[in-house]
Symmetry: C2
């Protein structure tokens, strides 16, 4: 009898769990939003993850429920727990990932370094924060944002008027999150895996490069990361995973500031784009590690298999022709590249795949990864 | 529109094509012999691979047909080709893998080094061969043998009487293959990948350790393999792939003799147990390479990612409890081990999974792989 993991959500993160599940011999089932999604091969059900009965029925045939995304409502998560279903990460942890205001408050309680922030309920409160922080700040909707959506840099409080108006119409009411605009030199990401029974493993800290608010490229490990920096980021990752009782993979997105501090930017309680390098570049990739963690199996070695790995996203894809038609030139010119595509139709800015390359020479590794990925764009 | 590969046969080799297909974005379909086979996740049809209509119907929805095994009858292969289906490896190549007498004759034409051999139609002819080769020899049924089945060491020609009797009742008639008993120091395997358009890539030669006629362990690359030996074995692999027009993965099993020659023992025209190390230990694993080759995509880099890789088969599995119940101790004690299981019920001697470990120190790598695999046995 195989161990059985059920994934709610049929996107590329669920898809990328299929390979390690098949290799280990774990039965993976997916509750997909629609037919033909990225994880369709493992989809055993199609339905609405916001409907408790749908998710409960799906959960009957698995040993543990985990997630492709963090959007499953707390009411549904609660119904699963009440029915005795093992859910990892649990509702109490996901609640923090689902609301950026809750996240900021909890990180503050844990003493984690983070940008100055405030919950602002109206234009006046936002303007007050702006005035106190040099006239510019980042405003975020607490819920539902991703890949740069729901995030806006403002220089005047009226620039968030539409979001305040939407809040006023929302039955839940609430506030917007405003954060100081951090003067950072680069962005980092720290991943850790944690099992329900407590074991924690930290991946090497990586550098992430964003374009237009979307992750474009990841370098693992982060270049010029002194031992002290690596210890600090790993400790932050472990403290958050333990402090918030996160199970499975946790990604902590960080700013490295001009004065050599690190500040927590965002959290993701699932496999994360910043860890795709590990599929080919670490002894235990993040998708295998996530499966092991949510099943409460011993965690694998997260160490890289080569000195450097670079991951470059394929964003948008070709306007004409499918991704696979581009394989021939990309693979011919870059035999060391590992090409991943997600079975998604290309459209502007959409993450439809990625390329990883590992090796000894960072310049060459980065060149190969960027050049191979470029073959899939126009 | 994704590239589509159809695999005839639902065993573990088809299963192990699933992970690289999902990662690349190739649609893999499997024609399985039964429900619930190793490759069930990708099975789109269940039926008899000896029935041309069944295989032709399956082939309608894919771009190329390839195989989990070499047992598809020539009549069925011919029907596919006649219908315009791309088949890799092709019938002319598979014919050689399907009949050991044909293989010996073709290798002789290619000038490949091999043991002395003969086609013997009766006891007298076998005894004559025995008398000329020191009184002992290896007798093989030309068709249908695998994992030591259909292979017998004899010291007297009457020891093959049952096989001669079976031949006499076979409408096809024919002969047995007899080969000299080679005085070898160890067994090696050379894998090469070849595309229809001609590109060939050779993997490093590996050492294979057999127990009771079944592959137990593989060390990659073969220890103490001098450059000259590696060149010789790679050249043998390339010559056979080109000479026999093999497409996809080819494995050449070799004897290394006490007088430092290599002799061809067996051929396999598919991914092979001797290449499982490459799933985790090479930049491009053999299953990904096979998919690329049969689709006539450019081949990937076959080089190892670490100095050493060791693969140990899980043969038989636990008498009590499933394989997955053994994960916890195996994974806990060997975090660098990559554990693969095939979704097969354990029974004595059956290949139900394997473990690979890669690293810098061969002694440690071999210890970790053997010890991790041992947790799955009784």
């Amino acid at each position: 009898m195989a161990l059985r993991v059920g994934v709610v959500g049929g996107g590329q993160l669920a898809r990328m769990m299929i390979a390690p599940a098949v290799e280990l011999g774990i039965e993976l089932s997916v509750l997909a939003e629609d037919e033909g999604m990225s994880a369709a091969l493992a989809a055993t059900a199609v339905g609405d993850y916001r409907d408790a009965d749908t998710v409960l029925a799906f959960a009957q045939s698995v040993d543990v429920i985990t997630f492709d995304h963090e959007h499953v409502p707390q009411t549904v998560l609660g119904a699963l727990v009440d029915a005795g279903v093992a859910v990892h990460p649990g509702p109490h942890a996901l609640r923090i990932a689902q609301d950026k205001l809750v996240m900021r408050a909890r990180l503050q309680e844990l003493g984690m370094p983070q940008p100055d922030w405030a919950a602002v309920e109206d234009t006046a409160a936002l303007q007050e924060f702006l005035d106190a922080h040099g006239g510019r700040a980042v405003v975020k909707t607490p819920r539902g944002g991703y890949d740069g959506k729901g995030v806006r840099v403002v220089a005047d409080a009226t620039e968030a008027d539409d979001w305040f108006a939407a809040l006023a119409e929302d039955a839940n009411g609430g506030a917007l999150l405003v954060e100081e605009l951090v003067d950072f030199t680069r962005e980092l990401a720290q991943q850790v895996a944690r099992r329900p029974s407590g074991e924690v493993r930290a991946y090497p800290v990586v550098e992430t490069v964003q374009r237009d608010g979307v992750c474009a490229e990841v370098i693992a490990p982060a270049p010029h990361a002194a031992d002290r920096l690596q210890q600090v980021t790993a400790q932050i990752g472990v403290s958050i995973a333990e402090g918030l009782d996160v199970t499975g993979m946790l990604a902590v997105e960080l700013f490295e500031t001009t004065d050599e501090r690190v500040l927590v930017n965002e959290l993701a309680m699932r496999p994360h784009n910043s860890g795709h390098w590990s599929q080919d570049g670490a002894t235990t990739g993040q998708f295998e590690q996530h499966l092991r963690a949510v099943l409460d199996l011993p965690l694998g070695d997260p160490q890289p298999v080569a000195p450097w790995a670079v991951m470059v996203n394929i964003l948008g894809g070709p306007a004409e022709g499918g991704l696979t038609e581009r394989f021939a030139t990309a693979l011919a010119e870059h035999p060391s590249a590992k090409v991943h595509t997600y079975g998604k139709a290309p459209r502007p800015g959409r993450k439809v795949g990625h390329v990883t390359v590992s090796g000894d020479d960072l310049d060459d590794v980065a060149y190969q990864a960027r050049a191979a990925a470029a073959h899939f764009l126009d």
